[in-house]
């Protein structure tokens, strides 16, 4: 389709190119295919030597909207071609595109409409980065563009200085003309200078959240553009030159008040790119690099340096001190989620510094201070360990790895540990191989010479710079040295690798001490070359660097699995049954059994929290039945987690045919969540619905989804109709749940069995449970425990969004004697952020939440029903509800106003929470009356004897 040029195009897109004839048509066609038709494309060719002229000519003939300009001589940068294009354009709006990238289809139209609607000088949007090899899409600094907005000048949002690209914007022509902004022509990184001036001169610009530029990352390094040539020192010089020009732009536009923000941008974006590469550079390069950047860095605002992360500050200081090898070590995990500690630290008073050399001056003291990692205060789960891969040998069917683990905090000393090399994500383990690890002593050449003069013992190799030895045994467990070494052999023929694990998998080291563990990544040492193992394992297993963190080790399987053994008949049978176990088939099987097989009156099926554990009301009903030694036989349903149940209870795995069989045979069901809808209960089975908490949020037929989707509501009503008896803990529950669920059967007003142990928390058995929890989580004596247990957010399940507390901020504000147990809702996830292991423990997987409550001193929650149980303990409850309005309205809605009834204060800032904890006695006093009213209203029936009443009511045949 040919389209004739319009008289005045709405937008000119200036496509600059140099020796890129192969990709130019892709870029130009992405503009011609825009939803905006009334535009022009100006190809500016920086005097290419390839067949760009012919390709461009063809494009102009293909579509009349394309124009082609060619510079008489190569300019070597992007500035001159872009300026030429600007001069040639005829439109009221301009955009820039590089010939190796693309514009998303709506980019021009959506930016144009936004510019027209807002009157902004320019509009900028999100950049998509597409890895051409894998097709994976990531967004560039997405948080900058998260909201659609109009900004009254850069001072309103100085962090937007990070958007230093010229390409993700649409410019108003008159604004560029009036201000006279042009690209500098004699340097690379011209867009940094351009953007700085742009931001300083504009009084009104707009931001949109959608992608307006597609940045394509070429698969092969040979085709990488200027921005990817960071290994060249000339590139570093250009970057600094651009920063100097930006400073001049600030001065010229009377914007020196923005200098600190601009300096922070330089340090944390521009310089940071090079720091991240340091592990790939040799010390000589790093020394030259320091000569270029440090003189400039030393002119920057000290406040900007203080805004960097601790790891970045350490790295920069090591560069400054020309400690190249150590800088490379420090840079290994910049930008990663983990805090990777130094190999060793130096203590001086109460401060701890990076490395074995004490800091030489005041600046070094402030920059190399790693006290905040609290290396020695970490429990095993939070221990900051540095696992390095030091040697790798591959043969045809075997890979042998040697690892060294640095434990600068000496957390591992005196523990009996097992170690595993674990391949897989945090949730899923692909394979786990034992590692033999033992403490070692590393002796440098000098130390060895001191001990035994060279040549005397003969076996020392003087050329070896260092040598490890196993410390002398003195009986008992080996003494800790802060360094461990181990070897692990991966036998490829025995390696199990599921067919669906196609992505590269993280290689981690897992250390276990009983149930406690530590899981951290395995890193390559700087200079380690992965090319030597590229084809290891005859095409079966590849160990390689991670794509975004080049010193994380990843494993990937290439080609088919080693040998496909034909499965045995039982395996085939199990596989077939698993495939057939769809809800519909299970439902049919259940009905078939209930039509033909009589019910077994003394069989009780228990299920709690969808089979995820031995907990909740069903557990305490079960234990009451056990106490009475009835003839009833109990079977517990489990969702593939048998290890969470005591050994003496019968188990059946959920969603299997055996489960359907057990359900059909059982005379009683006791459950807390509503059993799968596919089982339409037979008449002779009695179903006790205990439910799993009192209600704050709207439930049952009152939930928006049930109101808007009648089919869903009908299914729900059918499922509720199965319940024969419903446990009610109080009058509010009756109204907000029993009625809202449309339940019509027998109500058992008994209180909650699960609160019995909480009411009776002073009894020795309960105190013992609390002690065990403290021991398990390594909570030092004298520390007090916050249990933080928020509920999940609808539509944001498993996003981590329910953990609203800003833990790093809280760490700074909290009085020193607190430890936080975080209990994420089963529908959400949580991991302890580094280095906060000393303060925070992840208790999400702990089997019994009652025990956590017993071990805690105060509860922090939001809208979770845990508040009603916790009130039985009588200990203080604080609410952290920074999203209260949103939850109450946009979320599913709540049944009563928390602010009116809460037995503790509603807090919205980490600072407020810290203050409340400081004045806990005062708050307890202030809320005494409210707390009592709350208990009366919601815990009125909870007197520690509820289990007995429930059993009396639901199992009348059972003797007391």
């Amino acid at each position: 389709m040919t389209t004739q040029p319009y008289t005045v195009p709405d937008v000119s897109v200036i496509v600059i190119t140099y020796n890129d004839a192969a990709r130019l048509p892709r870029a130009v066609r992405s503009v011609l295919g825009q939803t905006l038709k009334n535009l022009e494309v100006i190809i500016v060719d920086d005097c290419s030597g390839d067949d760009t002229p012919a390709v461009a000519k063809a494009l102009t003939e293909e579509d009349g909207r394309v124009r082609y300009l060619r510079l008489p001589a190569n300019s070597g940068g992007c500035g001159a071609p872009r300026n030429t294009g600007m001069d040639a354009s005829r439109s009221p709006f301009l955009m820039f595109l590089d010939s190796d990238d693309e514009l998303p289809r709506h980019a021009c139209k959506s930016l144009l409409l936004e510019a027209e609607a807002t009157g902004a000088d320019f509009v900028m949007g999100t950049v998509e980065r597409v890895d051409e090899a894998t097709g994976a899409v990531t967004l560039w600094y997405p948080q900058l563009f998260a909201e659609r907005r109009v900004v009254d000048g850069i001072r309103a949002e100085p962090e937007l200085l990070f958007n230093c690209l010229a390409t993700n914007k649409l410019y108003r022509r008159t604004f560029l003309d009036v201000t006279g902004i042009r690209f500098p022509e004699d340097i690379h990184h011209e867009d940094i200078v351009w953007s700085t001036e742009l931001f300083c001169r504009s009084k009104l610009f707009a931001v949109v959240p959608w992608p307006v530029y597609r940045w394509l990352l070429a698969a092969t390094p040979a085709t990488r553009s200027i921005s990817s040539r960071r290994h060249e020192l000339e590139n570093v010089r250009q970057r600094v030159a651009a920063a100097v020009l930006s400073d001049r732009a600030l001065a010229n536009t009377h914007s020196l008040d923005l200098k600190e923000d601009k300096d922070f941008r330089f340090l944390s974006h521009d310089l940071r790119l090079y720091l991240g590469d340091l592990p790939q550079r040799d010390p000589a390069w790093i020394s030259d690099f320091a000569d270029i950047v440090i003189p400039y860095v030393d002119t920057l605002e000290p406040a900007a340096i203080e805004r960097l992360t601790r790891a970045e500050r350490v790295c920069l200081q090591l560069v400054r001190e020309r400690r190249g090898a150590e800088a490379a070590l420090a840079a290994v995990e910049l930008g990663g989620r983990h805090s990777v500690p130094p190999r060793a630290v130096t203590a001086d008073g109460d401060r701890v510094f990076w490395g074995t050399v004490p800091p030489q001056d005041e600046r070094a003291r402030s920059e190399l201070d790693v006290t905040e990692l609290r290396l020695a205060e970490q429990p095993l789960s939070g221990a900051l360990l540095r696992h390095e891969l030091i040697d790798l040998q591959a043969s045809r069917d075997r890979i042998r790895l040697r690892l060294r683990t640095y434990d600068p905090g000496r957390v591992l000393d005196g523990r009996t540990l097992t170690a595993w090399l674990r391949v897989g994500g945090r949730k899923r383990t692909i394979t786990s191989i034992p590692v033999q690890m033992a403490p070692v002593v590393i002796e440098s050449l000098e130390e060895r010479e001191k001990k035994s003069p060279r040549g005397l013992e003969g076996q020392w190799e003087p050329e070896e710079p260092e040598r490890t030895r196993i410390p002398r045994m003195t009986g008992g467990p080996p003494e800790g040295t802060g360094i461990l070494e181990g070897t692990v052999t991966i036998s490829l023929p025995e390696l199990e690798w599921p067919d669906n694990a196609v992505r590269p998998q993280a290689v981690m080291i897992s250390l276990q001490e009983g149930e406690r563990g530590n899981l951290r990544p395995l890193l390559a040492v700087p200079g380690f070359s992965f090319t030597s193992v590229g084809t290891v394992g005859s095409g079966r297993l590849v160990l390689e660097a991670s794509a975004d963190l080049p010193f994380r080790l990843m494993a990937r399987r290439l080609g088919p699995a080693a040998k496909r053994r034909f499965p045995s008949v039982p395996e085939l049978w199990r596989g077939l049954l698993a495939d057939l176990a769809t809800p519909r088939n299970l439902g049919r099987f259940y009905r078939l059994v209930s039509m033909t097989v009589p019910v077994s009156r003394n069989l009780v099926l228990f299920e709690s929290a969808e089979g995820t554990g031995y907990t909740g009301n069903p557990r305490y009903v079960h234990e009451e039945l056990q106490r009475r030694a009835t003839g009833l036989r109990a079977v517990w349903s489990h969702a593939d987690v048998p290890e969470r149940f005591p050994e003496d209870v019968g188990l059946v795995r959920r969603d299997t045919f055996r489960y359907a069989w057990t359900l059909a045979r059982a005379g009683h069901w006791v459950d807390s969540h509503n059993l799968p809808y596919c089982y339409r209960k037979r008449g002779s089975t009695r179903y006790l619905q205990t439910w799993h908490g009192q209600v704050l949020k709207k439930m049952g037929l009152d939930e928006p989804r049930h109101r808007t989707q009648p089919a869903l509501a009908r299914k729900y009503a059918e499922a509720v109709a199965r319940w024969d008896a419903l446990l009610t803990p109080g009058p509010d529950f009756l109204r907000d749940f029993a009625e809202a669920s449309g339940f019509r059967g027998e109500l058992i007003h008994a209180g909650y069995p699960r609160t019995d142990v909480l009411v009776r928390h002073m009894e020795p058995a309960q105190r013992e449970r609390a002690r065990q929890v403290r021991e398990f989580f390594e909570i030092p004596a004298g520390k007090r425990v916050i249990l933080y247990a928020p509920t999940y957010r609808d539509n944001r399940r498993f996003s981590g969004d329910s953990i609203r507390l800003d833990l790093p901020a809280l760490a700074g504000a909290l009085p020193p004697d607190w430890v936080i147990l975080v209990r994420a809702h089963p529908y959400d996830r949580f991991t302890v952020p580094d280095p906060l292991g000393w303060l925070v423990r992840d208790a999400s997987a702990f089997p019994e939440v009652n025990d956590l409550m017993l071990a805690s001193d105060v509860l922090v929650t939001d809208y979770s029903s845990i508040m009603f149980d916790y009130a039985c303990l009588g200990r203080p409850i604080l609410y952290y509800v920074d999203d209260y309005e949103r939850y109450a309205s946009a979320q599913r809605g709540i049944c009563f106003d928390l602010a009116e009834v809460a037995p503790g204060p509603l807090l919205r800032e980490p600072g407020e929470l810290a203050e409340a904890l400081e004045r806990l006695t005062e708050i307890t006093e202030r809320y005494r009356r409210r707390y009592a009213e709350f208990r009366d209203r919601w815990c009125g029936l909870d007197d520690g004897q509820a289990s007995g009443r429930v059993v009396d009511a639901f199992f009348p045949e059972v003797m007391r």
């Binding site: 980019a107 959608w210 519909r584 808007t708």
Partner: protein
């Protein structure tokens, strides 16, 4: 003004429903303004409605038989739902291509499209996702609220399909902004036309409150009855509450009304022929739903010059009723504040008159000619 080819595509365009009414109203309106309009329903309806007596638009269905219904659940081994055969699907898709293919491409000059297809739901967009129609500008419309999209498969479908259409349209700016926050680049707002707009506003002389809608749980007529019972005794005039519509809860609600002691003043009218006349006979319109994406009742009531009392159920409701301007908003589910709002309006004729006039003013931009102009402006925007 140039004449255009416009297609309305919906999965079920002839059944009873609010969005169907809107589509037919728009088709007739655009047809009357000289555009060549075709209304395409993917499935024929089991109970087709007649929305427009003398259509000036073409009308087509793609399948020959209505959508299969879920089979009765009598036997456990019966298949739950019959599906259409692949041949049937292919034939229907070919039919759609034929219908849209007769278009004179390039008609109307530079950048013009061969036609404009208004897709009424994410499911319809899903159905045509694999059909090549490069000459047609495609506009996805979503007739529900953002919350409803989040609670259903629609959010995923919108992100998957509407993102690639030329425009995605939502009922109010607030909903459009919520989808934009998902990084969709092409969101906009299109108002639904209000077909009721009498020459003369309601005289507001009868002491009568009107409510219209199906008698189902979500509409919370129970709350309305309680609120009315609480407010009525405090006002001197003998106000009546007229509940229009039918539904499964009718008997229960009638019993509840009888218990209030105001049984004769709460009138259940069932289905009525002429809703407009009911609005004109009343003085206050109410919407007591916990949940409502937009609220056609409020729009029609305001167009007739009635002040409103409504639960602040969504951004859609807030675009129709501004608290204190053309009505009073109550907390959703809160009988007390609803009763207080009713009482305030019932006891103040001057306030009713002022708010009623403001409501009618507010509804002017929802009048059909204005909405049709917005559609034509949208077609112009797509042509740029």
């Amino acid at each position: 003004m140039r004449s255009r080819d416009v297609f309305f595509l919906s999965t079920d365009g002839d059944s009873m429903g609010g969005s169907q009414r809107v589509i037919h109203t728009l088709a007739q309106g655009l047809g009357s303004r000289g555009h060549r309009v075709t209304l395409i329903s993917i499935n024929p309806s089991r109970q087709p409605q007649t929305y427009v007596a003398d259509p000036v638009y073409r009308h087509a269905t793609l399948y020959d038989t209505p959508a299969p219904e879920p089979a009765a659940r009598s036997l456990p081994w019966r298949r739950g739902r019959q599906r259409r055969s692949p041949e049937e699907v292919a034939a229907a898709k070919r039919k759609l291509l034929r219908l849209t293919d007769r278009i004179d491409v390039g008609h109307g000059g530079h950048g013009g499209h061969g036609g404009y297809m208004v897709i009424a739901s994410p499911w319809a967009a899903h159905w045509i996702a694999d059909l090549p129609m490069p000459h047609i500008a495609k506009i996805g419309q979503y007739h529900q609220s953002y919350t409803e999209a989040v609670d259903s498969p629609n959010l995923k479908l919108i992100k998957k399909h509407y993102a690639h259409l030329d425009k995605a349209l939502f009922l109010c700016d607030d909903y459009a902004a919520s989808f934009t926050a998902h990084r969709l680049a092409n969101c906009g707002t299109m108002l639904n036309p209000v077909s009721v707009f009498p020459e003369e506003a309601a005289p507001l002389r009868n002491p009568r409150i009107v409510s219209a809608g199906r008698l189902v749980r979500v509409k919370r007529i129970d709350l309305l009855i309680d609120a009315f019972a609480a407010a009525a005794p405090a006002v001197a005039e003998p106000w009546e509450l007229h509940v229009i519509g039918d539904g499964p809860l009718r008997a229960a609600l009638e019993a509840q009304a009888a218990q209030t002691g105001l049984g004769d003043r709460i009138v259940f009218r069932g289905q009525v022929e002429n809703v407009e006349a009911e609005y004109l006979d009343a003085s206050i319109v109410t919407l007591s739903s916990d949940f409502e994406g937009w609220g056609l009742v409020l729009a029609e009531g305001a167009a007739c010059g009635l002040p409103a009392v409504a639960c602040d159920a969504s951004a859609g409701v807030r675009t129709l009723v501004e608290d204190g301007d053309n009505g009073i908003l109550a907390e959703p589910g809160d009988t007390g504040s609803f009763a207080a709002a009713l009482e305030r309006l019932m006891s103040d004729a001057e306030l009713r008159r002022r708010m009623g006039a403001r409501g009618r003013e507010r509804m002017r931009r929802y009048r059909l000619p204005r909405v049709l102009e917005r559609w034509e402006a949208l077609f112009d925007e797509l042509d740029r």
